[in-house]
Symmetry: C2
Subunit: 325 residues, 2 copies
């Protein structure tokens, strides 16, 4: 019996920093045997300690049951060697350093040691899989699966292949991400920053400009997004919102407001105006706005609340209500 | 006794289209006597019918009590004349047509008929108060209070004066918006699109570009925002998120990622690439993604869910947990 058949449910998390450790939870809670390894043994222990603490947190904040927590923890195996981590896995989630040479060296090892049918998926947010796999024998099984931090809380994963990736591997990756409860989004080609970081950069560039020009404060920007744009976007996305903002839907919306968008578009900044002085003044402003809560608690509050918003969506899906019988 | 002293709690909603009718709920539920008037009498009756239906909806979806609904409805008075609507009010919320000449004519009437101390606030999303009030005797009491649609659901209000607005009126307007439960954001000067529509245009422009270039689909864009960016933004805004995305906070975040943002910034589109063909292909895509729900139900689902997210935030505020006694 081949190792793949013997352990059809094993995955490897390679690199257990902030992103990698969160992937552990995604896979383990989906019932997969999850092997974890990092080039730095101390990182593995740090991830293990984080995992135990985060599971406790899930129990406290979201009522996760003791048995579920125990099962999730029991699905995780700390490995001493890369070989041990990769044995018999069908999926490798790599979250190593964001450096092309380091990635190329790592993918040579992964390709040599992982079972031939295993998919090698990278969490990279910046690199092009075509470049990572240049000259690699197993280039066809390499794919990017770029998560949002932290993936066990925020579900979107950007999925794209390189020039040598087998299209079947890309489709398999999309299905696998759905299977473990993420929301995969397929990119048909590489663009710097993929989708998420490009759209974020577009909004942040304009926001920095508005602060620098003295139109508003950093807290003003945050309030407009937090208590305005973001509330609707978190439910429908920008095109879904456009579709609900005119009786005739998206077509009417963009036909009617297209000219205003175009005019506004010409007035938006094209400069990226970040300076050390602006960073410092924004730092002061954000500190003042958040003085009620230390930063680590801001982060855990954010993640707890994202989970709660997702629970709300599950509880109240956007489907037609059933008629009363 | 002057009318102001006799009725210190009366406001007028002038123009009762989609935005105006939603303002009625903001003021009436805050306990204010709310006079409503529209140049088109049929619009007043339409707003009244909407109000009754929306109150029922609030009862069904959010458990609003019967007594509270009755009180809110009793706070609203339909007026036959502008004079009647303005008598003794201290706040006028104008939501008339977005046309400079029409606004100038309307403000001449409002300024002539409203009590001298009443603030005249416009819901305009595009016009400059300096231009609306050119030559107007009461220019100093005119201010913009631009809401998000619908204001009784989405709380942000952009507040800004014109060149002739008394700074005290601007401050009073910010306080009044807080009093009625909105989230006012002060703009120190006029820029086209204010804050919200500029940031939205920046993101949407890039999103349209990514769809047109075939990098992804409209549903791909929506998923990235809905299940990624938007979830965090709805809680903290973009700078608040930056502050939680590095252990050293916003300063460390922008110092570390500033160069990546700058590089990405150069790669973002500067073209507004909307064409009728793109609109049609996006329309088809959005229709397919939303086939489970008719558009009017998409909109009411969106609004119900925004209310629920706001309730979540009230239930779980971002404050340090109290120590166990």
């Amino acid at each position: 019996m081949s190792p793949e058949l013997a352990r059809p449910q094993a995955v490897a998390v390679i690199g257990t920093g902030v992103i990698g450790r969160s992937w552990i939870r995604v896979f383990a809670r989906a019932g997969l045997e999850t092997r974890i390894w990092d080039a730095e043994p101390a990182q593995i222990e740090a991830a293990w300690a984080w995992l135990k603490a985060d599971l406790k947190r899930s129990r406290r904040e979201h009522g996760l049951r003791k048995r579920v927590i125990r099962e999730e923890r029991e699905h995780v195996t700390r490995c001493e060697t890369l070989e041990q981590a990769l044995e018999g896995v069908f999926w490798v989630q790599e979250s190593g350093p964001e450096n092309l040479d380091a990635k190329r060296a790592l993918y040579a090892d992964l390709d040599r040691l992982a079972p031939p049918k295993a998919v090698l998926a990278s969490s990279t947010s910046t690199l092009d899989m075509t470049k990572i796999t240049e000259g690699l024998a197993g280039a066809s099984r390499c794919v990017i699966a770029h998560p949002v931090n932290p993936p066990h809380v925020v579900p979107v994963v950007e999925v794209l292949g390189g020039a040598h990736t087998d299209p079947l591997v890309v489709r398999k990756s999309v299905r696998f991400m759905e299977r473990v409860g993420q929301v995969p989004v397929l990119l048909r080609k590489y663009v710097p920053g993929f989708l998420l970081n490009r759209m974020q950069a577009a909004l942040v560039r304009e926001a920095l400009h508005l602060v620098k020009e003295g139109v508003t404060t950093p807290e003003g920007v945050d309030a407009v997004v937090r208590d305005g744009l973001g509330l609707r976007w978190a439910l429908l996305g920008p095109f879904g919102v456009a579709n609900t903002n005119a009786d005739g839907g998206l077509r009417e919306y963009f036909t009617r407001y297209g000219p205003s968008y175009e005019m506004l578009s010409k007035d938006l900044t094209s400069e990226f105006c970040l300076t050390p002085e602006l960073i410092e003044s924004m730092g002061k402003s954000v500190d003042a706005a958040n003085r009620r809560l230390p930063r680590d608690l801001q982060r855990s509050w954010r993640d707890d609340m994202v989970v709660r918003i997702r629970e709300l969506k599950t509880l109240h899906p956007a489907v037609e209500p059933e008629e009363d019988a």
